[in-house]
Amino acid sequence: MNLTLLLLVPLSTALGIILLRDVKHIRLMAAIGSICQLGLAIKLLLAYQTARLLGDTSQMLFQFKYAWYPSLGIQWHFGVDGISIAMILLTAIVVVAGILFSWKMSFQGKEFFLLLVLLSMGAYGFFISLDLFSLFFFLELAVIPKYLLIAIWGSGKKEYSATKLALMLMGGSALVLVGFLGMYEYAGKTFDMLQLAQAHLPLEVQKLLFPFVFMGFGVFTAIFPFHTWAPDGHSSAPTAASMFLAGISMKLGGYGALRMAVYLMPEAAQYYSPLIIILASIAILYGAFATMMQKDLKYINAYSSVSHCGFVILGIGMLTRTSVTGAVLQMFSHGLMTALFFAAIGMLYERSHTRQIGELGGLMKTMPFISCVMFIAGLCSLGLPGFSGFVAEMTVFMGSWENADTFHRVATIIACASIVVTAVYILRALGASLLGPIKNEHFNHLADATWNEKIASALLIVSIMALGFAPFWLNNLITPDATLIIHALGK
């Protein structure tokens, strides 16, 4: 299977969007493009599993190499393993859903869809790149459109939020770049990830470079204390942008931290592991407590994302095979469920024109479908079995508990404790906004979801349940590669 297709489809979609004029055609084009991409992602998954079944044991499959700038050792080098395929699948699902949810976007629709497609292209490129330079290139490609999406189509104090988000993410990628250049120098002028993994950088160098790469990607995944772009950014962003932001961008960070930081600099990862665990535990519990006091639904979900992404960081920091698998599962699960949650909030907001839980109430009566969607997202978020969140969180807990000393145990218990706090804030939010008597007279006349929203929600819900009911397929997909990463640690 040719991985370049994953880039060509969004690229040609983008070109098509540029050429078209009518917004109806444009959105159709975007939808077709994204659905093709989803098809490709599924085909890739199947092709990958077939190849593995046939006994292909190379680390990265479907590799493609082309010297881009040979004198500097920069090349296009693509390849995928189980972890990247999981992320590609996630991206494809979220993109389809996001485009369907923005079906009614009329204001500057052309630019809007163009930016969405570009953003997705950045994400795909990021997940398939095996060359740090092209990976960085795609990382930036995935950041810039977000600024415009929020600043132009956002709500509230959108310029502030967009600037903050763009600057913090850019700061993160600057840190990443420093780390990459350092690795490039010390590993003998190569950006190739597979060669870097073999290079065995000296411990001192690793110790120096690891924080740059890890924290740089950490900013993307909203690591404490660099998470504050998330609440503001999410709350100002339009629905699709929120979904992309939480569903895709935050995953760029987790994936990068795992692949570029932990895998390439294993000794430093072990050295810094306690620090990572502390930061993650803080993020989990503190994010959860901070969520409890929020009044805006989007803030609630954004802070809960901080808490949930803490599980990703925790799983990575715990450095066991199970916990790393759990971290990837959590990325997948969190991407889907936050996208769903933001979509539900977006649908509510579009109709009721408020996101304050104090002003909402009783919407279950008038909008049963949307409320059910939100309920499902909420229940998934609080880790109910049958949904993806449970599987991911439990895998992280299990993996964390494998470390037998008191420090790791305490951190695990702190992380476990967050499931209670999560239940508190999710039920508070859902109860106040959906249940109870109808607070506002005009809520009685609100319409339920339209066909595009129903399809998109169904897509996300089915994906969530597919993982919740049958986690083994994704688990089996990820585990070998997680094992590889852990082996690099010398464990």
């Binding site: 404490f224 901070a290 409890m292 009783g362 109910l384 079995p385 476990c416 499931i419």
Partner: protein, 646 residues
């Protein structure tokens, strides 16, 4: 010879399919959905009965011992090479018994709800939730893996949440459902950590292996579990106690009971099914499931179970005497009876005669499910008729609803422990077990039994006697007793409440799977029965006819009465801890800290950068000549630097 796997698998799967069907297409099915749900439940119950028959009489017993049989096991989620979550089905005496109890009571409730919930706007949703609950509960009892239990444990929690909050437009129902979910969730945290501890010490989550590895003294797993300790308590004890915390949360043991009375906000059939007969005994079931580990490796934890059980039992009985909402009285009586089951486990031994407590506990679980479901359904009929939960709105209903009256009386006699009704037999075993093991628990148990009789008959007399019969032509009268669908379950359950006590339970369900004779010692029965009769007599004195006595008594014991009426202020304590302490001391500062300090720091960095830019931007004045001066000065500076200073 193995039992039929597909047959057993269908028992939980049928309700699940029913849930999906009703949940997705319920609106179109309308009133038909109730019939569909009931029919599928009947099939499921039939299969369960068949399974029980096969297990108890044909395949279960090998060499006189009932075996644990794992009829299905699938690796659902692999964690480490050793530890995985499996989806399996485990048949042993208690799971088979629970299968029967759950499907049977669920079927009764399904039938009952056809009448009770008729005309509800969300009729089909109600049935789909009922099916979801039944599925989860069946999955819970069939679990072959500790983690599988946890999964279904959470699922019963959420279906209970959904059903308590069924009338979601009522704020009290919404807050009750939230409370139930959060309190049990808190307990589940203990359960989860307990699973982690036990699972990692035994290097397995599978029940069979887990128990096998943790009960033999020479087992290395057990030795490490005992050797490693935290705060002076061994890992094994921690694990078991934390799991018990989970069980205590679901089973409403003190101090995690606060959700149960509020859960009565749900529709009454739901209270009968979930909050009386099945879900709340899940904690007892869990302790029973891990009983060999408790008794053989960690008796300390079992003592905790016993004391928590007996305390909850007495505590709830005291409160039940003062409540005026009939469903709340029943809720506290449930808590009290579950306390009974718990301490019965706590005082039990393992093998042979010593296992009387275990057997009694399971027996009581069984009989309690019957008569408590009957009580709730009867109360439901009364509420259906009166449209109120308050005792003061009732009285003298025995003429208006004779069938409800008789069946309710039977249930009251059963729970009070009057022979030959079902409760008598099971209570007898429990008290006998306590008598042999721990006299303190025995005497407290006796007192509780007397109080049980008192408050149940207080309830009975207040509903059916006390006041003159409401006159005919009263506007309530138009629907009388309720439809046949509501009467039928009352009949059947009343029949069970009379008869199930005669089942020789010790032949079927014992701790070690071996035969245990149910013995009767008439001399021993004198004390509990006479105490119960005394309680009934007292209740008759106070409540048969309206009089001043109860009020006088309340005044004379004002402090005790007031605090029992206010449920010993436990709710207020919780409210203080959550609202005041957690929200104000953790949530608010966290949110504030985030906005001001963390985010403030980010904004400060941004501010500093733009401030610096502000400072130096004057240089770009737009004046060409000033640029030129800087340029020449720069060239000159570099020239000096390179020529002279380098």
């Amino acid at each position: 010879m193995m039992p039929d796997t597909i047959l057993i698998a269908l028992i939980p799967i049928i309700p699940f399919l029913c849930f999906l069907l009703l949940g997705l297409t319920g609106k179109k099915l309308g009133a038909f959905s109730g019939l569909l749900g009931t029919a599928s439940m009947a099939v499921s119950a039939g299969f369960a009965a068949l399974t029980a028959y096969q297990y108890f009489f044909h395949v279960g017993k090998i060499d006189g011992v009932f075996q644990k049989m794992v009829v299905f096991n699938y690796h659902w989620l692999q964690f480490t090479p050793e530890i995985s979550i499996n989806m399996g089905m485990l048949l042993d005496p208690i799971s088979v018994m629970m299968l029967v109890v759950v499907t049977f009571v669920s079927l009764m409730v399904h039938i009952y709800s056809l009448g009770y919930m008729k005309g509800e706007e969300r009729f089909s949703v109600f049935y789909s939730f009922l099916s979801l609950f039944t599925f989860s509960m069946l999955g819970l009892v069939l679990s072959a893996n500790l983690f599988q239990t946890y999964i279904f444990w959470e699922l019963v929690g959420v279906s209970s949440f959904l059903l308590i909050g069924f009338y979601y437009t009522k704020p009290s129902a919404v807050s009750a459902s939230k409370k139930a979910f959060i309190v049990t969730r808190f307990a589940d945290l203990g359960f989860l950590i307990g699973i982690l501890i036990l699972g990692f010490n035994a290097k397995t989550l599978d029940f069979g292996l887990l128990i096998e590895r943790l009960i033999h003294v020479e087992s290395p797993y057990l030795q490490t579990a005992i050797a490693s300790s935290f705060m002076g308590v061994s890992a094994l004890t921690w694990g078991l106690l934390l799991i018990f915390v989970g069980g205590a949360g679901k089973s409403a043991m003190f101090p995690l009971h606060v959700w149960l009375p509020d859960a009565m906000e749900g529709p009454t059939p739901v209270s009968a099914l979930i909050h009386a007969a099945t879900m709340v005994v899940a904690g007892v079931f869990l302790v029973a499931r891990l009983f060999p580990i408790f008794i053989l490796s960690c008796p300390v934890a079992l003592d905790v179970v016993a004391y928590v059980g007996i305390f909850s039992s007495l505590f709830a009985a005291i409160i039940a005497c003062t409540q005026t909402d009939i469903k709340r009285v029943l809720a506290y009586s449930t808590m009290s009876q579950i306390g009974y089951m718990m301490f019965a486990l706590g005082v039990s031994g393992y093998e042979g005669e010593a296992g009387l407590g275990y057997m009694g506990s399971m027996f009581h679980l069984f009989t309690h499910a019957m008569f408590k479901a009957l009580l709730f359904l009867g109360a439901g009929s009364v509420i259906h008729y009166i449209h109120s939960n308050e005792m003061k709105d009732m009285g003298g209903l025995r003429k208006a609803m004779p069938i409800t009256h008789i069946t309710f009386l039977i249930a009251c006699l059963a729970i009070a422990g009057i022979p030959p009704f079902a409760g008598f037999f099971s209570k007898e075993e429990i008290l006998a077990a306590a008598f042999h093991k721990n006299p303190v628990i025995f005497y407290v148990g006796l007192i509780t039994a007397a109080m049980t009789a008192f408050y149940m008959f207080r309830l009975y007399f207040s509903i059916f006697w006390n006041k003159p019969t409401p006159s005919a032509g009263h506007d309530h009268h138009h629907h009388g007793e309720g439809p046949f669908t509501m009467m039928l379950p009352l009949f059947i359950l009343a029949l069970c409440s009379i008869s199930v006590g005669f089942i020789p339970f010790g032949q079927f369900v014992t701790a070690d799977g071996q035969f245990l004779a149910n013995e009767f010692h008439p001399m021993f029965s004198i004390a509990p029965v006479s105490l119960a009769l005394g309680g009934i007599f007292l209740a008759m004195l106070f409540y048969k006819n309206a009089n001043e006595l109860p009020a006088k008594l309340a005044v004379s014991m004002s402090v005790l009465y007031a605090s029992a009426y206010r449920k010993f202020y436990i709710d207020e304590v919780y409210l203080f801890v959550t609202k005041r302490l957690i929200f104000n001391l953790l949530g608010r500062p966290a949110a504030w800290f985030d906005r001001t300090i963390v985010d403030g720091l980010m904004n400060l960095i941004g501010g500093l950068t733009s401030g610096f830019a502000e400072m130096i931007r004057g240089l770009q004045s737009g004046k060409v000549q000033s640029y030129a001066i800087w340029f020449f000065a720069g060239v000159l500076g570099f020239a000096v630097l390179f020529i002279y200073l380098w």
